[in-house]
Subunit: 415 residues, 2 copies
């Protein structure tokens, strides 16, 4: 069973408001094992709404509409839909009373156009709005099913699961397929290279859909398995995931929705280790990412952005001669920064970055994009050296990503 | 002239990715004085793409498509469009070479499926991608105009103004062909409040289009003035900008494209001042943002993320009794952090943050979202206190934004 979504409002056509309802509704639909065939947005115009709705009904059996249910003159969704199918409008006295009660409760002045929100096309099944005055409705016409709910995201997010899904389940008691889903997050391969490594897997034959989602600088692979039973869907998913894992293993950092920062948070917490960071070229980004996880104060002791040579010398104890001889951007400096911040803070681990984010500051020997990343524990320090060629912000981002990958690998004993 | 937008990708149909391209493109179109008739999203399926495209072409003269231009097998937009109009695909050698050069430059391993990104339908006018491998194209078929550009928002946002709009202007020249544009960046007002303050300005009567772009936590206002002569377009723009400025003055931090960080960079450089930062709740984000500007090593001396109380005490010299008595999140601590980092670093200015980003750690007196921000020079320290109610990452972001606004105001003598 396939479903279309129609979001209605002039604010969408002007670009003033980004449509977040469509993706929310699509997620709800996919969770039920159904699929979305198309999403469409249209302005508050009679003819446009009627024409788009008819087009979408021709594509699928169900159209879920949001928006245009307000009390003002520009909200015309209900009237347009009634007109599209030649249905008269009637006033639902129960809904009208509920709206009036709400006005009384919040001491709002009653204006007659609010009564519009109690009008529905004949035959509509009303969908209650638990948090607003705009009730929604379901309408069965020509063997098709139309839903109309408000466009306020907060209200959509209540009325989809509480109102729309139960009615859909009543009309379509047997879902086409049960589904099981897994996200596999990778770093270190281009999207094309991920695809290339997986090209010998016949996903379709397994009843599994595969999607590639680049989220700079990561690439995420999403598997969705569908079957007549939940057990088989889950079994197919697991088998396929295992095959993907064999091919991408060295680049996978997360199975599921966890971010790299959250994976590291889990590992540091599990191992009861603390960390301190000394950053130069990443300018605070590594520490900022570590602190994006709630509870990071349990393992992050401090972070230093030692941008000047003076701060590397005085705070981290990097000898001036080392900087003079090898440069601030060097393996020697990176190692001493990691060791220095570890000692200074008393943390178990010290992580450091020094490099050239660009666009200026590069040389032939050390071009823009050069970075040295070091990780020190009580016994040893590892240092890795890379050259990337993005713009300044992306260089900083990928530097921080590699630093976190080095930390994760260490915590997983892969260092 | 009316335009439709077609965004393509399975990630949209599954709800995994919210479509932000449609609203961006719609704003760009509206700024040019054109209108969007409908927006549609469809999955990566041959028949669906062809059928939706034909439907939208029947509604309007121009369809702008995004997405499905990647190198992997699931990206089929170009092939689907070529098939829809019976056009053969050809390889553009210039584009192919550019992609290969990019791979060589970034030391990426060439995989043959990348060559797919150099294939275009016969008759296509290629639209260069300045920041990626996926070039776009314009195609004139059956008196209609189709654009195809990548779906990566970062790339869409470059290729719309730089590639699509100039071609649209060539096909649809307007009598008022000269335009002048100004971006006005604000912080501190909701989008609705910005709109409300400007509602008495009759933009249309001045030949000026106005667009509102919320870029969390900022709101940007874009004015485009059009006239038969460049001089008059510029004059109308200036007059309108002056009227907008009067109404939003206290909230404007930039006229033009400069970011808040770049505005601050200019001011610090002009005044030959250096700065050091001590962050707690912002976790390195303030320093990270300052270092997003090339050349920031000229004025940023260092940044400390003093996450633990111990680091606040030992590095910044905040007395343990102060933290014990007033708390780490307090005006007293914020002031001493700013003063401490200034003294420690020898910088002219010290900037600090301490607060509760959430979601845990709040109390009745100091709820989640509480932040104290302090700025110290050699003579005095100012401290401001706010409470925001976003999620963790947005709280961190808005905390850093306010810290930078305080710094900017100080540098402009508005402290």
């Amino acid at each position: 069973m396939k479903i279309c979504i129609l979001t209605i409002g002039n604010e969408l056509m002007s670009g003033r408001t980004a449509d977040t309802n469509s993706s929310f509704i699509a997620r709800e639909i996919n969770l039920q094992g159904w699929q979305v065939e198309a999403m469409m947005s249209v302005g508050d115009k009679f003819d446009s709404i009627k024409s788009r709705l008819n087009y979408l009904l021709a594509l699928t059996d169900v159209v879920i509409c949001t928006g245009g249910l307000g009390p003002t003159a520009d909200d015309i969704t209900t009237a347009a839909i009634a007109q599209a199918f030649g249905l008269p409008l009637y006033t639902d006295e129960t809904v009208l009373q509920a709206i009036k009660d709400r006005f009384a409760k919040y001491n709002l002045r009653w204006v007659e156009n609010n009564a519009k929100q109690a009008m529905f096309p004949q035959g509509a099944e009303i969908i209650a709005n638990p948090i607003g005055t705009a009730a929604g409705f379901a309408l069965r016409v020509k063997e098709k099913l139309i839903f109309v709910i408000p466009g306020v995201p907060y209200e959509t997010q209540r009325m989809m699961p509480e109102g729309v899904i139960p009615i859909l389940r009543r009309y379509f008691p047997q879902p086409d397929q049960y589904s099981a889903k897994q996200t596999i997050k990778t770093f270190g391969l281009s999207e094309a290279a991920v695809d290339d490594r997986l090209k010998d897997i016949d996903f379709a034959a397994r009843g599994v859909n595969v999607g590639f989602y680049p989220v700079f600088p990561e690439n995420h692979v999403v598997l969705i398995s569908r079957h007549k039973t939940q057990e088989e869907a889950q079994r197919n998913l697991q088998k396929t995931q295992d095959e993907v894992a064999v091919r991408l293993q060295d680049c996978i950092f997360s199975y599921g929705e966890k971010t790299l920062e959250e994976v590291i948070a889990g590992l540091l917490t599990e191992k009861k280790l603390t960390i301190a960071v000394a950053e130069s070229c990443t300018g605070g980004l590594i520490t900022n990412r570590l602190t994006d996880v709630s509870g990071s104060s349990d393992y992050l002791e401090r972070g230093l952005v030692t941008y000047s040579n003076e701060s590397k010398i005085s705070m981290l104890g990097v000898p001036a001669e080392i900087i003079e001889k090898h440069g601030a951007v060097s393996e020697e400096t990176a190692r001493l920064m990691a060791e220095g911040v570890r000692k200074l803070s008393g943390a178990d681990l010290g992580l450091s970055s020094t490099g050239i984010a660009g666009p200026t500051g590069g040389s032939k020997e050390k071009p823009v994009g050069t970075v040295y990343l070091a990780l020190a524990d009580s016994k040893q320090t590892v240092c890795r050296h890379y050259t990337f060629r993005w713009d300044r912000k992306r260089n900083k981002h990928v530097f921080s990503e590699v630093a976190l990958i080095i930390l994760k690998d260490y915590l997983q004993g892969k260092g």
